[in-house]
Symmetry: C2
Subunit: 137 residues, 2 copies
DNA sequence: TCATAAATGCGATATAGTTGCATTAAGAAA
DNA sequence: TTTCTTAATGCAACTATATCGCATTTATGA
């Protein structure tokens, strides 16, 4: 957390209450949060509004501290980019339940190959599994 | 194509001009299309409107003939589910260029394992790579 | 050809994402 | 500490996307 704040400073961001509250919420949540989920979080709602949350997320994504995830049938969700290990998720197509998977990513080493073959740089990837959870099945 | 129409019939869908036009467009496009892209396609626009395209996509997805894809910074896109081999894409984070990758999916065999471990059924997954293309870099 | 229910068109509405502008406040400089 | 500059904010408006209700049309089985 200290680490993250420091990183924001280095990148020229001002350390405001909103920024801290948002980063805290993202840090405490064990799962990615959407703009709306952040917006209604009591700790955050008290301090700042939707537009601020939106722009703060933009800034954090801009400096690479935040990862934007795109799950089926839900808007974008965001999670802090601690370390550079990305995460895999399992999503229920019906109720939207989000589970984080514990696995070593099986496609990481492909990035370099794809980067060369296609002339792309700054590679990242998303690997997401979908299914029907026990309740929804 | 014949195959797909047959499948629609078996699933109880009525074979309308709209359905055929939409499936054709998706079939001819080498890449996934968004609702808007379909809506403005001349072949389709002539026959039916946005709500119909929307609901047709819903139906096709419902019977498993259509796959909904979620790429960063763009709305949902759709592609026909021919065979059950899914596809991998490489997306430019800036201009949004979409490339289909030719690779044998390295995580397919993980689905069964995850299904058991988490009590999920009807598993699918999405593997998408992002980067900056030559032009945008 | 007729009857029935699925599919459609239209317009309204909901939801997510985004912006302009006047105001506030973080942090560097004095 | 006070002052100054400019990033950050709040508010409200706005755009784009997604979705729905209902009256009408049309595909298909009898």
């Amino acid at each position: 957390m200290e680490e993250l704040i420091k990183c924001c400073k280095e990148q020229g961001l001002r350390i405001t209450k909103g920024l801290k509250a948002i980063m805290n919420a993202l840090d405490e949540a064990k799962l990615p949060l959407s703009l709306q989920e952040l917006e209604v979080n009591p700790q955050i709602a008290e301090i700042c509004d939707r537009a601020t949350v939106f722009r703060t997320l933009q800034r954090l994504e801009g400096i690479g501290l935040l990862r934007r995830l795109n799950f089926s049938h839900s808007g974008a969700k965001f999670s802090l980019n601690t370390g550079d290990a990305h995460k895999e998720y399992l999503i229920c197509r019906l109720c939207g339940e989000v589970k984080e998977l514990k696995m070593s990513c099986p496609v990481h080493q492909l990035e370099e190959k794809l980067s060369e073959e296609n002339g792309y740089s700054a590679m990242t990837h998303e690997l997401t599994f979908y299914g029907l959870c026990r309740k929804c099945n």
